[in-house]
């Protein structure tokens, strides 16, 4: 599925070589720090560290990579209790009960809905069954796949997320299963600037 037209490709030419060289030159043009400055820094660090009780450093265990995952799983289990009867139905309806459902006729279908009474915009996208997780990324969250996960609203593959957006132009995309970047086929798209298939954009309402 990676060769689909709606999957953003990163062929490695995203970098602006001329601009990069200019930034590197600026970086190198800074006069080097003197050894005396490094010595003062080391002395200050050691003096500060000496004021911190020795004990707590010794008892701090090495962090393990799975601690975060275990803590998140425990939090989800305690707060959502997915084993209780009818939990899936209630969870699907709880946050968006007053909003209209998005039709799921297409394999990939998106929509954008400005919500009354605030800056929030609701993004909906319907994806094939088997999709494990979806996130929305854009200028508004630094293109961070972990910042704005979307919620699976029902068993028909409809994913949704609300994002607070100020009026203005916002560029965004969807990330499916942490790897595939998809454009929104139902929204206007950014002209391809040589970076790959076009991304989608929203011009938010003016107030």
């Amino acid at each position: 599925m990676s060769d689909r037209d709606d999957v953003l490709q990163f062929p490695g030419d995203a970098d602006d070589a001329a601009l990069g060289a200019r930034v590197a030159e600026l970086y190198r043009s800074l006069p080097p720090r003197t050894p005396a400055e490094a010595d003062r820094c080391a002395a200050a660090v050691l003096a500060e560290a000496a004021r911190i009780p020795q004990g707590w450093r010794a008892v701090m265990p090495r962090q393990r990579w799975w601690w975060g995952a275990a803590a998140a799983a425990l939090l989800v289990a305690v707060t959502m209790r997915p084993w209780r009867p009818g939990a899936a139905t209630r969870d699907a309806d709880s946050a968006f009960t007053s909003m209209s459902r998005v039709a799921s006729a297409a394999a990939l279908k998106g929509s954008i809905t400005p919500l009354a009474g605030g800056d929030a915009v609701r993004f909906d996208v319907t994806l094939p069954a088997g999709t494990k997780d979806v996130a929305i990324v854009g200028d508004f969250n630094g293109w961070d796949e972990n910042a704005t996960p979307m919620l699976l609203r029902s068993g028909d593959g409809a994913w949704t997320a609300q994002v607070a957006l100020p009026p203005g132009r916002h560029v965004y995309a969807f990330v499916v299963d942490g790897a595939r970047w998809l454009v929104d086929p139902m929204a206007p798209q950014v002209p391809d600037a040589g970076f790959g298939p076009a991304n989608a954009l929203v011009v938010d309402r003016t107030r």
Partner: protein, 178 residues
């Protein structure tokens, strides 16, 4: 002496070994912090904080990582924290284009040429996450895999930040270059 040997000696309580690590990486850390923060005093503070955190956590440093990468992971976090706390105080990095055009050239206290000063000003106006990605990519010369390991952000997101940051930087330079 290698980084690994200096780390081992530091763990054993050898202050001189830690001083050698600071001497080895102080300039690189300060250079990055200065370009992230735009102020010498802020760069001094952040670099010192980063080395302090590294010293306190050196018992948990994993030898399979490059020491420089591990240190820069701490440093980038400290820079982000400094920007967050400073933006609450001063909102120095404004996004308003009219303000950008009318803003006075910051006093850097460094001997920079006219062109460099324009680029320095343009960098300072970038979103901090875009500035961080551009510096790691263009100035530090890191691969996206290394940047991802260092920042905890996906490679696609980093490529997008570099792409968008480059576009923004070019647009700003178009206004600032005269």
């Amino acid at each position: 002496m290698t980084d690994a040997e200096l780390v081992a000696r530091t763990r054993a309580g050898d202050a001189d070994a830690f001083g050698a690590l600071v001497s080895r990486y102080y300039d690189a850390c300060w250079r990055f912090a200065y370009h992230m923060l735009g102020e010498r005093a802020d760069a001094d503070d952040v670099v010192q904080d980063a080395f302090l955190r590294a010293y306190l956590a050196i018992g948990r440093y994993d030898e399979r990582d490059q020491f420089r990468g591990w240190l820069f992971r701490i440093l980038t976090n400290q820079c982000r924290n400094a920007i967050t706390s400073r933006s609450r105080r001063t909102r120095r990095f404004v996004q308003d284009e009219a303000a950008i055009e009318s803003a006075a050239t910051p006093v850097l206290g460094l001997q920079l040429g006219v062109e460099d000063a324009a680029l320095q000003r343009a960098l300072a106006q970038l979103d901090p996450l875009q500035r961080e990605a551009l510096l790691l990519k263009y100035a530090e010369g890191l691969e996206y895999t290394e940047m991802s390991r260092m920042t905890g952000v996906g490679e696609s997101a980093l490529k997008m930040r570099v792409k968008r940051g480059s576009e923004r930087l070019r647009a700003l330079l178009g206004k600032l270059d005269v």
